[in-house]
């Protein structure tokens, strides 16, 4: 019989940016079972959306579900309501939504990659990644007025247009950002120490990804070709050079590389969208009250974000359901830990880029 120890991981842990608790049963430091608790930051946002706020305000409430992918939440919500109310959004607004959405993906992926580097003990890479992420935050502020809670998309379009001066600055700085992100990608791809630390660790096979309905970069790193940008028509990704990034290893290394390559593709899409930005209105007036149900899938940085909205010709909606990507990936994470060495847990958890403010809502 081995040395059996119960190891609590979280809710506060040096590797965790947000509170989640795993309780591991280990035998000779190998995990034999795990319990999870995700409810530390439950704020009752769904309840608030269907009791306290008008449907026109909910887009701003759901943006507060998460500071990192706030635009994805707003985008999913406004798309669901627009489909329900048959609102035709101007093409320029769709392009602007795409630009902000992809810039958001860039900063979120850089954050995830930086955290994984930090957990691997590579402080310098963590700092460099966050330094380059700062450029994206500045661009988002320039474009939307805010660094995090953008409140950019609204029902019928977007709240702020891009001026020719801002578009010019964006294009110039995107070139600089691309160089930096290429360097980051090269380090994550070729650094020998990182390869030793991450290759073959925390492997999600393609079969596991299907069995546990994994979403986002962890699914694509396992070779599962799924991305809501390809499977749901909510923004004109086909027109700006979207490419699905898929790898086969399914380990921490490949999850980071999926993010690194997606960052480059997102930058390319933003550049293309700026070059072919349609002229015209950024918003159309919306009249009436939502009646019926609608649901959408949006690709947030962490994966598939599902919104279900139901209204009955009232100002306050009957139901707003938010199913976030981390919520969908918790079951596979739990499964993955069984048989793993405890020392690999922090890097594996962080490589999923878990967002608990999204999960608990």
């Amino acid at each position: 019989m081995g040395n059996r120890i119960t190891v609590p991981f979280g809710s506060q842990h040096v590797a965790l940016p947000e509170p989640i608790k795993f309780v591991f049963q280990t035998e000779n430091e190998r995990i034999t079972s795990v319990e999870v608790d995700v409810g530390y930051v439950h704020r009752g946002i769904e309840k608030a959306c269907q009791t306290k706020f008008k449907y026109t305000q909910v887009g701003y409430v759901v943006a507060r579900v998460c500071g990192l992918c706030s635009i994805s939440h707003t985008l999913a919500y406004v798309t669901a309501v627009e489909r329900l109310m048959e609102v035709e959004v101007p093409k320029r607004a769709l392009y602007l939504r795409l630009i902000v959405g992809e810039l958001d993906r860039v900063h979120s992926h850089l954050l995830a990659m930086g955290h994984t580097a930090e957990v691997a003990g590579y402080e310098n890479l963590f700092m460099q990644t966050f330094r380059y992420r700062e450029t994206v935050m500045e661009l988002l502020e320039l474009l939307t007025g805010n660094r995090v809670q953008y409140d950019y998309a609204c029902i019928g379009g977007v709240n702020r247009d891009v001026t020719p001066e801002v578009a010019k600055t964006l294009k110039e700085r995107m070139k600089e950002l691309k160089e930096k992100c290429l360097w980051i990608k090269d380090v994550f791809e070729n650094d020998l120490t990182l390869k030793y630390r991450w290759k073959g660790v925390g492997i999600v096979t393609k079969e596991m990804a299907k069995e546990f309905n994994v979403v986002g970069p962890p699914a694509r790193a396992a070779g599962l070709e799924t991305d809501c940008r390809a499977e749901f028509n909510y923004l004109p990704f086909d027109e700006v050079g979207y490419k699905m990034v898929v790898r086969k290893g399914g380990d921490i290394y490949d999850r980071n590389l999926v993010r690194a390559y997606e960052v480059l593709n997102s930058i390319e899409m933003v550049e293309n969208a700026l070059d072919s930005l349609p002229q015209g209105e950024i918003k159309v007036p919306v009249k009436g009250l939502p009646d019926g149900e609608s649901f959408v899938r949006v690709e947030a940085p962490r994966g598939e974000l599902f919104y279900y909205v139901k209204g009955s010709k009232k100002l306050v909606l009957d139901r707003v359901r938010i199913r976030v990507p981390t919520f969908a990936n918790i079951p596979v994470m739990k499964e993955l830990f069984i048989g793993m060495d405890y020392s690999d847990v922090p890097a594996t958890v962080i490589s999923f880029d878990p967002c608990l403010s999204c999960t608990a809502r």
Binding site: V36, G39, N213
Partner: protein, 114 residues
């Protein structure tokens, strides 16, 4: 968007899903509840991999006390959605534990209306 809704009695939910669900083809998204007062409408959402805007939705209704069959025998990852129903709607889902999303001193079944 192509949505195929399959309405079935609660006792047939698992059988209906079993008939079409293949993990190579279908992506299980979630199960959602809408409170209808004294009962809930339940929807299990599926979408096929690689197809654009296609959904299959299994629909059923359950009273607050009725036991909702688990689908974790077919889809192991469904436990988290089912436990959420138990927490936020106070529903009796087969095998589901409470306390994953709510603390012991939280209001019970907060997403029930009224």
């Amino acid at each position: 968007m192509e949505v195929e809704e399959i309405k079935v009695p609660l006792r047939d939910v698992r059988k209906t899903i079993k008939e079409f669900y293949e993990e190579d083809k279908w992506h299980f998204i979630t199960v959602n509840a809408v409170d209808l007062g004294g009962k809930v409408e339940l929807k299990w959402f599926f979408s096929p991999y690689g197809e654009k805007e296609r959904f299959r939705v299994v629909v059923s209704e359950a009273s607050y006390d009725e036991e909702i069959p688990t689908i974790t025998y077919l889809i192991p990852s469904a436990w988290i959605s089912e436990w959420e129903l138990a927490d936020l709607f106070g529903l009796n889902v087969e095998g589901a534990k409470t306390g994953l999303f709510l603390e012991p001193d939280s209001p019970k079944a907060p997403l029930r209306r009224g």
